[in-house]
């Protein structure tokens, strides 16, 4: 049998054995529900709409300020309602009293209202009639123009980018685990010797990585489609060409990141023979993934900052740091291509090293091996 058809055979087994597992089906279903909920909930719960405030007026002299606040709230993208009795924020003589630190927006709104009322009074005292005072106090609003075009959907895409980071992290770490657990299971049950009497270790590793990768890719595709579909249906996200390209590129980054991490997880797992020992050898990789997740959060806030630009070129982090920058429209085509080339190059260097360590370690049972021992064993 050729190496290629043996790889296909191994990959097929990995997919078929995993896809019908109850835990896999349930896990996928739960993630689907969570993704759809995260995509739909913000708009369903009214987040991102106008802020609504209730205020009370304790000092009748402050009533005009309260009324001005109600009228002027629109400029702050807020709504103010005056209630009798208790409210979190109360206008008192010459001040604002609150139970706890009041919202900054509300404070600004009330300060502006107060300024308007007292300026109005001052203007009338100076002899202006009401119409003149109103005009003096309500000038034409300043027109806002930008050098770069304003993308109205940028905020929606922030949510999209965030979900992309979390999904990529989750998918990379869970598929990495699957590879590692599969390798150790074969060692632990000793079935690996039987398999290796028919195929080379590299073929077995390649088939396992390919099979689980296809499974992970399909699962991610499903989650992405469900998330984007739900967000589009609920109006939380306007799905256009940019969004689809960003989603497609995020999937491409998954492929590259998965190849990198799967090779690393596979060779790490080959060093041990028991599930109990697995955690200790793969923890450097899970930590690396977590660091990648955590550096991607500031990247979400500042997608064209120095940190974002640097981590996009660090292979273990790029698969999580680059997709949100693409989603936010802050990475140029050249930069994306460059980062992709660096990560693909690093993966191409890693794979033969990982395959050799795997080959050296996979037939050794007993105590955990050191990397160097596995490396030497493969040479013999």
């Amino acid at each position: 049998m050729s190496g290629r058809s043996a790889i296909a055979l191994v990959a097929r087994r990995e997919i078929l054995e995993r896809i019908f597992e109850k835990s896999f089906i349930i896990g996928t279903a739960v993630t689907l529900v969570v993704i759809a909920a995260v995509a739909v909930l913000p708009s369903a719960l009214g987040f991102g709409g106008r802020d609504e405030y209730s205020i009370a007026v304790a000092d009748p002299a402050m009533r005009p300020v309260a009324d001005a606040a109600v009228r002027g709230a629109g400029a702050f993208d807020a709504e103010v309602e005056i209630v009798g009795g208790d409210a979190g924020v109360t206008l008192t003589e010459g001040g604002i009293r609150a139970e706890e630190k009041p919202d900054d927006k509300l404070v600004n709104l009330l300060q502006a209202a107060n300024a308007r009322v007292s300026s109005g009074a001052a203007l009338r005292d100076a002899g202006l009639d009401a119409e003149q005072a109103r005009r003096a106090l309500s000038p034409e609003p300043l027109r806002v123009t930008t050098v770069e075009p304003v993308d109205e959907a940028a905020e929606d895409r922030g949510g999209f980018a965030f979900i992309a980071v979390v999904l990529l992290y989750g998918q990379l770490i869970s598929m990495g685990y699957f590879v590692a657990m599969g390798v150790v299971e074969e060692k632990n049950t000793r079935v690996v010797e039987l398999v290796l009497s028919t195929v080379r270790p590299r073929v077995l590793l390649a088939g396992k990585i390919l099979g689980l990768g296809l499974l992970g890719f399909g699962q991610l595709l499903l989650l992405a489609a469900a998330g984007i579909g739900a967000a589009a249906a609920s109006g939380a996200l306007e799905v256009n060409g940019d969004v689809l390209v960003a989603a497609g590129l995020a999937l491409a980054w998954f492929v590259v990141g998965y190849a990198f991490y799967a090779a690393a997880f596979g060779c790490a797992a080959a060093l041990v023979s028991r599930q109990e020992d697995l955690q200790s050898v793969i923890s450097p990789l899970t930590v690396l993934l977590m660091v990648g997740l955590f550096v991607s959060f500031p990247v979400l806030d500042d997608p064209d900052g120095t940190l974002a630009e640097v981590v996009s070129f660090i292979p273990p982090f790029a698969p999580m740091a680059m997709p949100p920058r693409i989603a936010l429209g802050e990475a140029g085509a050249l930069e994306v291509a460059g980062a992709l080339a660096v990560t693909v190059g690093a993966t191409a260097l890693l794979i033969p090293l990982a395959a050799r360590i795997y080959s050296g370690g996979v037939m050794r049972t007993g105590a955990a091996l050191k990397l160097r021992e596995a490396w030497r064993a493969a040479r013999a």
């Binding site: 049998m1 043996a6 055979l9 087994r13 078929l16 054995e17 597992e21 299971e185 074969e186 049950t189 000793r190 079935v191 690996v192 010797e193 039987l194 398999v195 290796l196 009497s197 028919t198 195929v199 080379r200 037939m363 049972t365 013999a380």
Partner: protein
């Protein structure tokens, strides 16, 4: 003919194989015996390509064995192992296909072996749900599912109950009779003696004795013949002294053990025995495989 030629393998300072050479002919069963650590498992792993030898070659039908040839070998490793969560039928199909069978052939071969080994009721079960005995049957089926040209089994009888031993011996005999060379390692020397035409004894990674079991036992007696004889109504065996070249080696409840040297002939001993009383037992004694093994390993 499966030939192991000059196989050497060391792990650091430990020499596992030191120029091991022997051959197994098609249609014959060869017992591969030796003390623990003699190198049996290492040798079998090299035959199957699971390990690379430091030196030496394995040949099948005169040509060095490569991956394509090995696909037609059947193997049962000492460390039994199957995919625990995979179903019996799927597992057999998977291994058959790894050995190069087309999907339809793999399926029918799997069904055939499931039937042959009495696993029909269990075909859809996961291997981990099977009893140990049934798991061992699946293990055997995995080694045989692709109709191998060569069978290599590492301790196939260990852990089997008497029924399992019968099933295993029956299947191996059948494979050998169909022309396949069957080589298996075992510490159960009586079993090897009963089943195998040939035996190869290894120690410290080297071959110390090999050949047909009958030939080895014949050779093992050296220039002397030993006869076990029991004569009713006769006590001390004094009559033995009257036979030329005969010498009483031992006597006990199993009768007398007589050693014949220097041209002493069994027929003359029998005549003398019949003259002494009623002969109830008369047999030429050959050293057992266990005795040969101890002698070979001690040397």
């Amino acid at each position: 003919m499966l030939e192991l030629d000059g196989l050497s393998k060391r792990y650091g300072d430990v020499v596992a194989l030191d120029g091991l050479t022997f051959a197994v002919a098609g249609g014959r069963m060869c017992g591969f015996v030796g003390p623990n650590g003699a190198g049996k498992t290492t040798a079998m792993r090299i035959v199957l390509g699971v390990l690379e030898p430091d030196a030496g070659t394995v040949r099948w039908r005169g040509a060095p064995v490569d991956a394509a040839t090995r696909a037609r070998f059947g193997y049962m490793p000492e460390e039994r192992g199957l995919y625990p969560k995979m179903r019996v039928h799927d597992q057999l199909v998977y291994f058959a296909r790894l050995h190069g069978l087309a999907p339809a052939d793999a399926d029918s071969a799997a069904r055939r072996w499931i039937e042959r080994l009495g696993l029909v009721e269990r075909a859809r079960d996961r291997v981990e749900a099977l009893s140990l005995g049934n798991q061992q049957r699946v293990q055997l089926a995995v080694a045989l599912v692709h109709e191998p040209e060569v069978l290599v089994l590492d301790e196939p009888f260990s852990g089997l109950d008497p029924v399992g031993v019968d099933v295993m011996s029956g299947v191996l005999r059948e494979r050998a009779d169909s022309g396949v060379p069957v080589v298996f390692s075992s510490h159960q020397l009586e079993l090897v003696e009963r089943l195998c035409e040939d035996v190869a004894i290894v120690n410290h990674g080297r071959l110390v004795a090999a050949g047909s079991v009958a030939e080895l036992r014949e050779r093992g007696r050296g220039g002397t013949e030993q006869v076990r004889v029991r004569v009713e109504g006769e006590g001390d065996g004094a009559w033995v002294a009257g036979v030329p070249g005969a010498e009483l080696a031992a006597s006990g409840t199993r009768g007398l053990l007589v050693r014949l040297t220097g041209g002493g002939r069994p027929e003359e001993l029998l005549d003398a025995a019949r003259a002494a009383g009623t002969v109830t037992h008369f047999s030429l004694e050959r050293p057992s495989l266990a005795e040969l093994f101890r002698a070979a390993v001690a040397a």
